[in-house]
């Protein structure tokens, strides 16, 4: 079982990201479960959503407390202790930030070789025209973890959105995927 926790703020599509990740995993033949945190979702308030992906049926319904993959959609959340709480060993971490990874202060539990930083808000602005980073991050997460094929992510996006919003999100996710893949290749080569 691979467990994912997504932190963001109300309005950034945190819950949608978890749902689409589960839809992509299901389409790829896995079992998946996505659910929001048991918090009140107000615009701007910290929001958490979860996704589990497994080769077998998933019965567990507790919140994800030891994520194997962590997505932080809003860089202003990084100082909150709960964001990195319980991070599993060798967990993948994907951050939305304009800064380079080396410039970002992170707790020691984050392994730099498993870290990717993506200017997801800028990618969303470029491709979608709106500062909603969730879908770009999903593309990046697919590249970072290999948890779901990018094709399944793009299909899930097209299943949820329509018209220019679908096109923009697909372009943002693809661009993010390519970018993180490039980062990973450079890391391996270095």
């Amino acid at each position: 079982m691979f467990s994912v926790r997504i932190h963001g703020r109300g309005g950034q599509g945190v819950v949608t990201a978890a749902e689409l990740l589960s839809i992509a995993a299901h389409a790829a033949g896995r079992y998946a479960q996505a659910f929001p945190s048991f918090g009140s979702e107000r615009t701007g308030a910290p929001v958490v959503a979860f996704c589990r992906v497994s080769d077998g049926p998933i019965r567990l319904r507790e919140p994800v407390m030891h994520p194997d993959g962590l997505i932080v959609q809003d860089p202003t959340l990084l100082p909150l202790p709960e964001v990195f709480a319980g991070l599993a060993a060798h967990a993948y971490v994907l951050l939305n930030s304009r800064h380079d990874a080396a410039e970002i202060e992170l707790p020691p539990v984050v392994e730099r070789t498993r870290l990717a930083v993506l200017p997801a808000t800028q990618l969303a602005l470029t491709h979608l025209g709106r500062p909603v980073p969730n879908i770009a991050l999903l593309g990046g997460f697919a590249a970072l973890t290999g948890l779901v094929p990018i094709g399944a992510v793009l299909d899930a996006i097209r299943g949820r959105f329509h018209g220019p919003v679908a096109d923009g999100n697909v372009a943002a996710a693809q661009a993010a995927y390519d970018r993180v893949l490039q980062q990973r290749t450079e890391l391996t080569d270095a």
Partner: protein, 389 residues
């Protein structure tokens, strides 16, 4: 075909596949997505021949369902929490009048203090209303139970509540094989009301009954509930024949031939099963029984299922203040005269997550005979101290 879908949408489509004639509802979290999805299905024409009635309150929602059902329509509504309390007067009327309404309760805590999150306080508060109460473990269960609820309700002429955990199930995406209309048609016959308000053939429904017959009316209601104890497993088997999936039952045992058995309702059963597997792996004799049917209470089936057990731990998602667990009261009555030791663990109130780690620790204490008769899972003593307790 299995699809990755939100629990609320799966339930809405299952209800639509039963082709209700009238749906009326007032939105309240966490039920909202269900009725929103149904209103969309009605408006788009996907659900034909159904009138979606917008009402001004939950009291009106159930009152409209009562009127619709009495006039011969298959009627559905959904609510949660304070909305269910606001229906209370009409709930007793629906049951007393024998109207086969099906209602989803997206289980949520009761205020005050106001809290929108999941526990079972709402539905359990209506345990004596005369409604049948079924509890879903998963979203597949929730979808399937609605199909079976209509059949059960109409066969017995009694209203049925299908209870599904708010947020934990209603807002969860997981794979569900949403029942198709063709399959549902093979399982669920068209609604033939036992009585029907019709101006062309006038009758009275709901006449006053005095002391000379009121006891008998209540006795007959009790008899109908006793009959439900036989019909629920039978209709569950009939469901399996058509759909190829487990149908409803009174109890849902899992590795229950054990010294210690945990009894619970709803979505926590999944986490419990994982915990029990862990404990079994450590050599402990422990199992789980899911209480699918809470009303009528399957006392005899429970006694039989626990015949080989030494102790039962009731995981109660609601508190009878001044008493303890709500479900525990019925379990104690059912087990009176047996040697079973009973523990009540009040857990997951107001949406507090029930974790595998906490269950593990508490169940180990039960196994070691170190668990008091009544405990509150993960009680925060530091927080209590700040309140001066």
């Amino acid at each position: 075909m299995r699809e990755q879908i939100e629990g609320s949408r799966a339930v809405a489509r299952a209800v639509a596949a039963c082709r209700p004639g009238v749906i009326c509802a007032y939105p309240i979290s966490p039920q909202t997505h269900i009725v929103e999805a149904l209103s969309t299905l009605v408006k788009s024409g996907a659900l034909k021949g159904c009138e979606f009635v917008n009402v001004e309150s939950e009291f009106a929602a159930l009152s409209v369902a009562i009127g619709a059902s009495a006039a011969g329509a298959r009627a559905y509504t959904a609510t949660a929490s304070q909305g269910l309390l606001f229906m209370a007067e009409a709930l007793y009327n629906a049951a007393g009048l024998g109207l086969p309404i099906v209602m989803t309760v997206a289980n949520r805590a009761l205020g005050a203090p106001i809290n929108i999150w999941n526990d079972h306080s709402d539905a359990l508060s209506q345990r004596d209303s005369g409604w049948i109460q079924l509890y879903a473990e998963s979203n597949q269960d929730a979808a399937d139970l609605h199909i079976q609820a209509f059949r059960l309700a109409e066969e017995l002429s009694l209203p049925v509540m299908v209870c599904m955990d708010g947020f934990v199930l209603t807002h969860a995406y997981e794979a569900v094989d949403v029942p198709a209309v063709e399959q549902v048609d093979r399982y669920l016959p068209g609604f033939t009301p036992r009585q029907c308000l019709d101006p062309a053939d006038p009758i009275t429904i709901g006449a006053m009954v005095g002391p000379e017959a009121f006891t008998e009316v209540r006795y007959l209601a009790h008899q109908t509930h006793q009959r439900a104890l036989e019909r629920i497993p039978a209709l569950g088997s009939a469901f399996t024949e058509i759909f190829g999936r487990p149908g409803m039952g009174l109890l849902a045992p899992y590795r229950a031939d054990a010294e210690t058995v945990v009894l619970a309702l709803g979505s926590v059963l999944g986490t419990l099963k994982d915990t029990v597997d862990d404990l079994r792996g450590l050599g402990h004799s422990i199992g789980v029984i899911g209480l699918t049917t809470f009303r009528p209470f399957p006392a005899e089936a429970l006694r039989a299922a626990l015949a080989g057990a030494k102790r039962v731990v009731v995981l109660d998602r609601a508190l009878a203040v001044g008493v303890g667990g709500v479900v525990s009261i019925d379990v104690a009555a059912a087990l009176a005269g047996t040697d079973l030791r009973q523990h009540t663990v009040v857990a997951g109130l107001g949406g507090r997550p029930i974790t595998r780690a906490s269950l593990h620790g508490t169940l180990l204490r039960a196994i070691e005979d170190d668990l008091p008769p009544l405990t509150f899972l993960d009680l925060d003593h530091r927080l209590l101290a700040t309140a001066g307790a």
